[in-house]
């Protein structure tokens, strides 16, 4: 799976690292003093992840938790994201990671206890606020969780801190680690979903929508708290009918398990847009024109994207989803 695994010398012998190494396949292994002596030092083209993907196992230093941008999350509470991994094994054509880091190589940060410690400090700093911690900003939260096995550490922390919330965001169906532990009201497993044809076309190497829906169903019937992200929506002929099919399937689930639903239309920073054009020049993502919008990101023009969002939202409401649980993402 990985070409070369680079492990920071200090942690090489630890049980956690050895456990990860035992579960993965790789051609070469090297140790180094700091992962960032090599990772991101040269501009490695994104698509080399297809044949030449390296893995770095390291300790994260510096800021482990950061405040999210405005217009992130449900609109209530204070939102943070934490970084326990960089990059992803999936290859979504619109993914902003292709323009964010200078390399597609994956990093597993293994000092989860330090992250949890910083979470505790934030809880103390904001005692009267509803705090949300999101994972999956720079990686998929679940797809390799059977290898990294950090879920239990966060689970224990949130079990002891029921007033703050954890969101694990994923396109994966790898829920093995999650269902081994009973549901908690403050841990939300959220899934990114798209129309079936969009997922087939743009969510390269990701599980199909059918399989994602199966995972959601399994969790819903076991009473896990769920989030749904219909984001990014990419316009195509018949998109609404395809989304309606998904809403119909979801509407049969116990709806009280669904905590929130976000909807958002495809958007790019200028750099990411150029990367997408470079990496996927023939992609149908470029079919429609994009325009510089309110935050300098490139989006469909405002009437167009609001038309899309309104239709999606109305369709959700018609299927019985509650208005107060639906929010527009980054609008």
């Amino acid at each position: 799976m990985f070409s070369t695994v680079f492990v920071e010398q200090d942690i090489y012998q630890t049980q956690r690292v050895q456990s990860i190494l035992a579960k993965i396949k790789y051609k070469n292994i090297k140790t180094l003093s700091r992962y960032d002596d090599v990772w991101g030092k040269v501009k490695k083209p994104y698509l080399q992840k297809r044949e030449n993907l390296n893995l770095f196992i390291a300790n994260k230093r510096g800021n482990l938790i950061k405040e999210t941008p405005d217009a992130y999350g449900t609109g209530r509470g204070k939102h943070f994201y934490f970084i326990h991994s960089y990059n992803c094994i999936y290859e979504c054509e619109y993914c902003y990671l292709q323009g964010y880091f200078n390399t597609p190589d994956i990093v597993f940060f293994v000092n989860h206890e330090d992250i949890v410690k910083q979470m505790g400090e934030l809880i103390q700093k904001y005692p009267n606020e509803e705090l949300w911690f999101h994972a999956g900003e720079f990686s998929d939260s679940l797809n390799l969780s059977h290898i990294t096995q950090e879920y239990k550490i966060y689970y224990d922390f949130f079990k002891n801190n029921p007033n703050c919330f954890l969101e694990l965001r994923s396109k994966s169906v790898n829920i093995k680690e999650v269902i081994e532990l009973p549901p908690l009201d403050n841990i939300i497993i959220s899934f990114s979903l798209a129309s079936d044809s969009s997922a087939k076309e743009f969510d390269r190497k990701c599980p199909s929508i059918k399989h994602r829906l199966n995972a959601i169903e399994k969790l819903a019937y076991k009473n896990y708290k769920l989030g749904l992200h219909f984001d990014p929506i990419i316009y195509h002929e018949g998109f609404l009918e395809e989304y309606e099919t998904i809403f119909e399937q979801l509407s049969h689930l116990p709806l009280e398990t669904i905590q929130y639903i976000s909807i958002g239309v495809v958007r790019f920073t200028k750099d990411v847009y150029h990367q997408v054009a470079n990496n996927y020049p023939d992609s149908n993502i470029h079919k429609l024109d994009f325009t510089k919008s309110f935050d300098n990101k490139l989006r469909y023009n405002r009437p167009m994207r609001m038309w899309v969002l309104n239709r999606i939202k109305n369709s959700l409401l018609l299927k019985g989803f509650q208005d107060e649980k639906i929010y527009l993402c980054m609008e």
Binding site: L32, K41, K43
Partner: protein, 319 residues
């Protein structure tokens, strides 16, 4: 014109003979028909001394670099020829910028400022690439700046681990040169041109209209675009039809704008929307040359509600 480059004369020998290259006004530059051959000398700075001059003097459309390199990974065979995918640079430390020459290939190269004489240095370089040379990155930088296509194919002469025997490599030089020539002949000469799929326009179109039609056509299948272009009476109609085929919502947006504009146009006024359709501002203009104009404008404005604009920007596109 095609420019072939290599570092050493020995590497180029077979090429000089096969294509009857003749010396040009510089000792290390040769010409044969539509081909130039430059022997750059060894090292990152040597490799580019003449390159900008040649680009300025000759109409160079393509550069092909070839040469022998050391392998940094074990999975190569001596004598194997590889196409370089991405070229990196090590100049005392890893240099950030890289250039991708061939996405289809799987072998990355790193240009080293120094010869690789120690295993430790080779190991360091192997963190970034599979093979090491001493010339390619600066060449790629210049080719990229001048938007000239660059390819590089390299013959693996040894494993760069500090145990290189230069005399062994030198004794193999003629053989390596012949191999590189054969590879070049098989892969870079007599390439068949791609079929021309351009649409033929039956109406007059300006340069920018032609460009727009071409850009829009590329977003549709050839047949879809062909049908629309054939049915169009003029360039503007063609562009609109292509745009609406690609994005039917754009037609709804334009119809809504026309609907809002209607009462203004009737009295000779205009209402302009933000070109990017992002800001909710509109601008109303009218040439006034009579009291009647003023009264008409007052009547239209008093019936006009800003809610219509709000509605439009909130995605209500029904007319």
């Amino acid at each position: 014109m095609e420019l072939l480059t290599c570092a050493h004369f020995k590497e180029a020998e077979s090429f000089i003979e096969a294509f009857s290259f003749k010396r040009e006004n510089f000792n290390n530059l040769f010409k044969s028909g539509n081909r130039l051959l430059l022997i750059t000398g060894e090292g990152p700075f040597e490799s580019i001394t003449l390159l900008p001059y040649l680009i300025a003097q000759y109409d160079i459309s393509k550069i092909i670099n070839f040469g022998i390199v050391g392998a940094l990974a074990k999975d190569f065979k001596i004598g194997e020829i590889v196409n370089v995918r991405t070229i990196y640079f090590y100049l005392s430390k890893p240099y950030f910028q890289s250039f991708t020459l061939d996405n289809e290939s799987k072998v990355d190269c790193i240009t080293s400022e120094d010869r690789v004489l120690e295993t430790e240095y080779a190991t360091k370089l192997s963190n970034f690439a599979h093979i090491v040379d001493r010339e390619l990155w600066p060449m790629a930088k210049i080719a990229n700046a001048h938007k000239i296509e660059l390819s590089s194919f390299k013959l693996i002469s040894d494993f760069a681990n500090g145990e290189i025997n230069c005399f062994d490599i030198q004794s193999m030089a003629s053989d390596f040169s012949q191999k590189l020539l054969t590879y070049y002949k098989n892969n870079f000469t007599n390439q068949t041109p791609e079929p021309n799929n351009e649409h033929v326009l039956k109406f007059k179109a300006s340069f920018s209209q032609k460009k727009r039609i071409e850009k829009l056509s590329n977003k549709l299948s050839y047949e879809q675009a062909h049908q629309i272009i054939n049915q169009s009476k003029n360039a503007n109609e063609c562009i609109k039809s292509l745009e609406y085929k690609i994005n039917p919502i754009e037609e709804k947006i334009e119809n809504k704008i026309k609907f809002i504009q209607g009462p203004f146009e009737k009295i000779g006024a205009n209402i302009y929307f933000d070109q990017k359709k992002e800001n909710k501002n509109v601008k109303v203009t009218m040439n006034i040359n009579s009291q009647k104009n003023i009264e008409n404008l007052i009547n239209v404005l008093s019936d006009f509600r800003y809610e219509q604009i709000d509605d439009f920007y909130n995605g209500n596109l029904d007319v």
